[in-house]
Symmetry: C2
Subunit: 381 residues, 2 copies
């Protein structure tokens, strides 16, 4: 998989590009909404298409346990199963095994765990993670990795990196399908030397794309940006660079600034189900009494159909009444907001005004200047 | 309000017609989905439009309590509030006061009750029911009635009829808006003489339309059809005839056969949220294990987008995983099914083959002949 850079900022490392998948091309930087159980919660696929979503992510751990990867394969693969005609991406299942399951053994060969659904015992190895993802059939699949917690002891970190590299090699060897791209995951916590070393190891092996994993797991914002700033510029220029698990505008913008291309998170959909909507002036929670008779749209600066047709008062009424439609309306708007945000970033990069756009966005959304004065280490890129 | 009959069956009392409302014309017979809190559960209004829904019903009791009828008026009325451009109908609130609230006093003047939401005390009178419905602003509003339980003593029934007639007069007198049609509700349980007498009393007063209320409250199917068969033919021919609270195909078909025009029920939407879908071969529940790997659409004989795009296996997976999208897909399909059923009935009436169509539908859907041999009393119409 080759990422073609179409435009590059002159005063930062932001880049706009595109890459091809079996189910279509993807313009970067791109935000990918998460459909854990092969459904972006509350969203019919035709609405995702209407919004302009390019890639949908699904979780291997969940789909392996229910309804099963063999079943999904027999029904034509993930995209056909969920009625989504565009590109898809599956994670390796590793992150969820560590965070959701009753983990009871991690060894050199793999992970043994109990399902969070019914307590049944399962084993995940690099080979099995690839086989499951080949059955699911997403356009982009991920190597099984070990995501250390934050903070982590140096010994734990070192062990996780060694194992993750070894597993990445095994995933590479296990891969049989040629219509799927395989991405490796760079770990290393917030230790920049270890990150760089791990990044170099994986580049040496040669993958279709590279992801920064193990971030957005509790570390401060500035720490995350330090890692991105330090590592992103050294990731291969002609391959997609994917920052896993982030969806808030601040991280998206600061990561694009340093050259990242792909992002995923449950942030917009989870926020929506709690009644929170992103607007150009920041996040608003529709449970708040101040919106009870507010005839304005969720975001007066938004052009989405939800904002064209419904008032804050109506959405608040639905939220307060526990109506299912509330989830649909807030989710639609939030995914539209992030999809539009990425499109704005691409436009700004093409016009070489990304840093100017960034300052304006931060001022409007966060009511503050962007974090130019972060104590960030110099990048090597 | 005038119902124009466009076609009439030669071998039964079924009729196809239309009437005009402030927000557009309605072709009858028509099924109206219920949006209790000003939202047909899980359904964006543009999808209702796409399906071909003609009228949306909302519940006065719920909207009066939350968010309040004054608020809805200030936001442009029910249709504007919920983003539904077509015709709307509100019930009087009476039925819900009797069935949902903590009722503590029924007198000649009105009903005092406590909200099921917060226990607050409220009073509903015919005048107030009209005022609330004028604030909500639906195209069709209903007189406040007293719906007796099933079964009911004769004394209770007699009292309810007397009060309902008296309240209907007061509703008529209280009405100030000229852009809303006011329908009266015929009560009388399954006592055909009392039904007829009440029907005559209300016709004498002269309303824009007439509803059969107090049915589908626990009486057997055959009893309900007996009432419809006895009373419907004597209801004014040039006014809409509305059977309240029914949505299963058997009742819809048998009621159309005897000349009813309008129907509403939470049946399709509630069924959907329990995973049950209507198909041309009867109801199927997607929770059933037999659908786990079924690649067929919900209903192979259905042309709706859900059936064109998704498999039973996928819908079952969503239901089992508790995914919000399950509600959307099953609700869309069920409302489409009933909307299409009504369109089929209209077509069959226009082609004067309603009774033939009815036999075929019963055979296919219920796997039995239609109830031609019901012990029904002769109609007077």
């Amino acid at each position: 998989m080759k990422l073609t850079t179409m435009a590059r900022s002159s005063d930062c490392l932001a880049r706009a590009g595109c890459f091809e998948t079996t189910h279509g091309s993807v313009a970067t930087p791109v935000f990918m909404p998460v459909g854990t159980h092969a459904s972006v919660k509350a969203m019919p696929p035709h609405d995702l298409k209407e919004i302009g979503v390019q890639v949908v992510l699904a979780n291997t751990y969940h789909l392996y346990l229910r309804p099963g990867d063999e079943l999904i394969r027999s029904l034509g693969g993930l995209g056909a199963f969920m009625g989504w005609p565009g590109p898809t991406l599956t994670d390796s299942g590793g992150f969820q095994v560590f965070s959701l399951s009753d983990l009871f053994s991690l060894d050199e060969d793999g992970i043994t765990f109990r399902s969070h659904l019914d307590g049944s015992e399962h084993r995940l190895t690099p080979e099995k993670a690839v086989r499951i993802q080949e059955n699911l059939g997403a356009d982009i699949i991920m190597c099984l990795d070990q995501c250390p917690p934050y903070p982590a002891d140096e010994a734990v970190l070192t062990d996780a990196l060694r194992r993750t590299t070894s597993w990445a090699k095994r995933c590479q060897a296990a891969k049989t399908r040629t219509d799927q791209a395989l991405f490796a995951i760079i770990q290393g916590g917030v230790d920049l030397d270890k990150r760089q070393q791990h990044c170099d190891e994986l580049i040496e092996l040669g993958f279709d794309g590279y992801a920064l994993g193990g971030l957005s797991v509790g570390e401060p914002f500035a720490e995350m940006v330090r890692v991105v700033r330090a590592i992103a510029p050294g990731m291969p220029k002609e391959k997609p660079r994917y920052l896993m698990g982030v969806g808030s505008p601040d991280v998206l913008i600061e990561s694009v600034r340093f050259g990242m291309d792909m992002f995923d998170s449950v942030y917009p959909t989870r926020m929506a189900r709690h009644g929170s909507v992103m607007t150009h002036r920041g996040v608003l929670n529709m449970r708040n009494a101040q919106f009870a008779s507010d005839s304005k749209p969720l975001d007066p600066d938004c052009s989405c159909p939800v904002c064209r047709r419904f008032s804050r008062a109506y959405v608040r009424h639905l939220v307060k009444s526990g109506e299912l439609l509330a989830h649909y309306l807030t989710t639609y708007h939030n995914i539209h907001f992030l999809t539009e945000l990425m499109a704005q970033m691409r436009d700004a990069i093409f016009d070489d005004r990304f840093m100017k756009w960034r300052t304006a966005f931060w001022r409007q959304y966060y009511d503050t200047a962007p974090p130019d004065d972060l104590d960030l280490p110099p990048s090597r890129g």
